[in-house]
């Protein structure tokens, strides 16, 4: 190779900060179209060397020669064709993306004046767009102030600064710390493209993978000296690492290589993990929104069901009311019409029987028929009572239940004991009727299924607006696997009827087996007329 190939000659550069020596005579050469990799530990002086070559700080001693001419300090490296990609981006926060990419390289008019030009933003925007497209950088807008960009985006802007103008030498000061691995690979392909175009690259890096991938020649900087200089093809990672850390013992070296390698591998892995985490988070967000949609649908359906349910309850309430009224009408008709008719027939028969013209055997027949009619009247009266407890309208719930229980006891032979709150008072008619029907159905249930000999009914207030009815028998109790729905399927409507009525009243039904055998039905229903007696009991000051 002839000397004329040499693009940059760095001769015995010395630099120290105060008493701290950083570079102690660095000499190197870069040829045109060559990629020179410089490795070295952190603090070996890489950044200082890069800054000196880029003309950002003067060396204490030594000189730089570009294409055979010495660069006198201070010089503007960019004007000489030397571009720098710094370790971390140095940008003007108050300028937008285009402004930063072209800072110091603005296109403008009149082009002959350096500082007095008026910038041509449109043209610069186009070129900036191209440069960012080359990098495949995703930047929201060229008008965005770089202060609002992420560190990686800022680094990409800093790299784009190098792309807008041809350079002879590009100094790259390990900018990969801020770049994710796709952009790191992008940078490596850029370096190769530059080499193909004949641009020299001075690539400062710690990443041996990167250096071995693109560098034609490797230099190792340690403690301010170049300690190794070799074509990349003629060396191994072990040798380079040995030079970087300054050890030659292979046994001690291996762990360091491993550490170095695994450091970068770990970084890559961490990055992949982060990426996957982001994907997962996105997934999760999607799922969450799906779940929210489902929940919303569900709540809509619940609302619809609720509405339907309420309509159903309302319908049932009306049905029950109408049934009660129908029963009442029926009972009155039976009572007022049939019974009166029967009674009048009976009187007519009596008159007929006492007539002297009737022969004796016929009288006996008539007398038997009258007996039958009386039995019939009693029976119809009982039916009337079942249809409409005769006392409930006039004397109230307590009296109705008492009378019904007496009848029932006579009819069934099961002993009934009653414990009715003395201050029951009068409740609204639908509630009284419902409660009466509950007791009625409860007792029927006992009679049909319980095989009990005793029933105890208790009606009392648990609070001024809450009435509790308990029906306790000493019978079989409920089977273990009792279930209201199953009971209804088997045709046992008694308990189901109770539970429906309780639900319509907005109350609570509990069914449980008593410890000594037998079923306990407990019903609690609210009602709108507070019991004065209970109120009095609750306020002892009165």
């Amino acid at each position: 190779m002839s000397a004329s190939d040499v693009l940059l000659e760095v001769h015995h550069i010395v630099k120290s900060f105060g008493k701290l020596p950083v570079l102690r005579g660095v000499t190197l050469e870069v040829k045109a179209g060559e990629v020179v990799g410089v490795a070295g530990k952190n603090g070996a002086g890489k950044t200082v060397l890069a800054s000196i070559i880029a003309g950002l700080m003067p060396p204490d001693d030594g000189y730089l020669k570009l294409e055979g001419t010495v660069l006198p300090w201070p010089f503007c490296a960019r004007d000489k064709g030397i571009e720098l990609i710094p370790q971390s981006p140095v940008l003007a926060d108050s300028l937008d993306v285009t402004g930063n990419i072209f800072l110091g390289r603005e296109l403008g008019w009149p082009s002959r004046f350096r500082w007095l030009r008026v910038p041509n933003r449109k043209r610069m925007d186009e070129l900036a767009e191209q440069a960012l497209a080359t990098l495949e950088a995703h930047i929201p807008s060229l008008r965005e102030h770089v202060a609002y960009l992420s560190p990686e985006q800022r680094q990409l802007v800093a790299i784009a600064r190098v792309l807008i103008q041809a350079a002879k030498l590009i100094v790259i000061d390990d900018p990969t710390a801020l770049l994710s691995s796709p952009y790191q690979r992008k940078l490596l392909t850029l370096i190769e493209a530059w080499r193909d175009k004949g641009t020299a690259v001075l690539f400062f890096s710690n990443n041996l993978d990167h250096l071995f991938a693109v560098a034609d020649r490797l230099l190792v900087l340690r403690e301010g000296h170049i300690v190794m200089e070799t074509p990349t093809d003629e060396t191994t990672r072990e040798e380079v690492v040995a030079a970087i850390v300054g050890m030659s013992d292979r046994r001690e070296l291996t762990p360091i290589i491993w550490a170095l390698d695994s450091y970068y591998r770990a970084r890559e892995q961490a990055e992949k993990l982060r990426h996957q985490q982001r994907l997962l988070e996105k997934d999760l967000a999607a799922q969450t929104s799906l779940r929210e949609q489902l929940l919303e649908q569900l709540s809509l359906q619940i609302a619809a069901l609720d509405k339907a349910n309420r309509a159903l309850q309302e319908a049932q309430r009306r049905l029950l009311t109408e049934r009660e009224q129908e029963r009442k009408r029926l009972a009155r008709e039976l009572h007022d019409q049939i019974i009166q008719d029967l009674l009048s027939i009976n009187y007519q028969l009596e008159d007929l029987g006492e007539a002297e013209s009737v022969p004796l055997p016929v009288r006996e027949d008539i007398s038997r028929v009258r007996e039958d009619i009386r039995t019939l009247i009693t029976e119809v009266r009982r039916i009337c009572g079942d249809l409409r407890p005769p006392t409930i309208d006039s004397l109230g719930l307590g009296a109705a239940i008492r009378s019904y229980a007496r009848d029932w006891q006579e009819r069934t032979g099961i002993q009934v004991t009653l414990d009715v709150d003395e201050h029951l008072g009068r409740l609204p008619e639908p509630i009284e009727l419902s409660l009466f029907r509950i007791v009625q159905e409860g007792l029927n249930n006992v009679w049909k299924h319980a095989q009990a000999t005793q029933v105890h009914i208790q009606i009392h207030h648990t609070s001024p607006r809450m009435l509790a009815i308990t029906i306790a028998d000493n019978g079989r109790g409920l089977p273990e696997d009792f279930d209201l729905a199953a009971a209804s399927r088997e045709g046992h409507y008694g308990l189901l009827g109770i539970s429906e009525r309780v639900a319509l009243l907005g109350g609570r039904l509990t069914l449980k087996n008593r410890p000594r055998g037998g079923l306990l039905i407990r019903v609690e229903v609210p009602h709108p007329r507070p019991s004065r007696a209970v109120l009095r009991e609750l306020s002892p000051g009165d």
């Binding site: 960019r78 720098l84 108050s94």
Partner: protein, 329 residues
């Protein structure tokens, strides 16, 4: 353009809460107060005087505000004004033509500015020390050149710069006001349209980015201080022409007014913000404050103190909302 909508709204909002708006409001309040409290403030004579002296103060404030924009300060403007005036007067006394005198005066101002810029820009010395030094040096040169005596009997061809009128139909425009207009427009173009203006705005906060971009920061500073020296000299010439005498003690203590006006209207130190119009409004406020203090008969001993307090208040107010903004943003 996708950005125009929000940007326009932001623009309107900026005018409403920007310092320019506040300073303008203060300006009108003070003017109203003075019109009511003093019989003379609104008189044609006083307004004309105020407009003339405002012109040369405002020219200097423009130069100073550019220095402050870059995060520096120029304490030598007062002495530069006096020096430029004196040198022009001495050249006139030697029988040379007016244009030569003006050029000599401007050159003297730019010379002082260039020295400032070189010391600050090339040697990285702190601007307040450097300009404090050049202030004394310039004042010393003035006393040596004038031997302590004012230079009088300046020709009318020179005094026209401060006292003359240009007649536009029925409109009588004072020459200093015209000069102010021209220099303001030139400064606005320079600061807002050229790359130079862009770099100057970045100098205060983003100097490393300029450095890495290969922009000659030292050269920029040299320009900025030379510009300030030039504007101070222009103001000094207008002042000397107006007064008709170049006194060695002229413009003593003007620095404080000028810096206060620049900070009041142009934004605090190192913000890189601030507009030419804001600076003019700041200068106007400070000027009618001075005028008002005189008209109200406030003792001169008090006046400087009040202006200084105004400067401190401006910096204080400037620093408060910035902090809260950073907390929110």
């Amino acid at each position: 353009m996708k950005d125009t909508g929000p940007r326009r709204i932001r623009g309107v909002r900026r005018i409403l809460n920007a310092r320019e708006g506040v300073v303008l409001l203060l300006f009108f309040l003070l003017a109203l107060f003075l019109s009511v409290r003093t019989p003379t403030f609104l008189s044609a004579q006083n307004l004309s005087n105020v407009a003339r002296s405002f012109s040369w103060i405002a020219v200097v404030v423009l130069g100073e505000s550019v220095v402050i924009l870059t995060g520096g300060i120029d304490l030598s403007v007062g002495a530069t004004m006096a020096l430029a005036g004196l040198i022009a007067a001495l050249v006139l006394q030697g029988g040379h033509p007016v244009c030569l005198a003006v050029l000599a005066g401007l050159a003297a101002g730019m010379g002082v500015g260039y020295v400032n810029g070189t010391l600050v820009g090339r040697l990285d010395l702190p601007s307040y020390i450097v300009t404090l030094g050049t202030m004394s040096v310039a004042r010393g040169i003035i006393f040596v050149l004038s031997r302590g005596w004012p230079v009088r009997n300046l020709p009318y061809t020179f005094r026209v710069l401060g006292q003359g009128y240009i007649y536009l139909n029925a409109l009588m425009i004072p020459v200093p006001v015209l000069i102010l207009l021209v220099l303001t427009l030139a400064s606005a173009v320079l600061l807002n349209m050229t790359l130079l203006g862009r770099y100057i705005r970045l100098l205060g906060r983003s100097a490393p980015a300029l450095h890495v971009s290969g922009i000659d920061i030292g050269g920029l500073k040299q320009f900025v201080y030379t510009f300030s020296g030039f504007m101070a000299a222009a103001g000094g010439l207008m002042m000397t022409a107006r007064l008709g005498v170049a006194a060695p003690t002229a413009a003593v203590g003007y620095e404080i007014d000028i810096i206060a006006a620049a900070i009041l209207g142009g934004g605090g130190l190192t913000t890189g913000k601030g507009t030419i119009w804001g600076v003019l409004i700041g200068a106007g406020l400070l000027h009618i404050l001075r005028n008002g203090l005189v008209l109200m008969g406030v003792h001169p001993y008090w006046q400087t103190g009040i202006v200084g307090a105004m400067l401190l208040a401006a910096i204080l107010v400037d620093s408060l909302p910035l902090k809260t903004r950073e907390q929110h943003g």
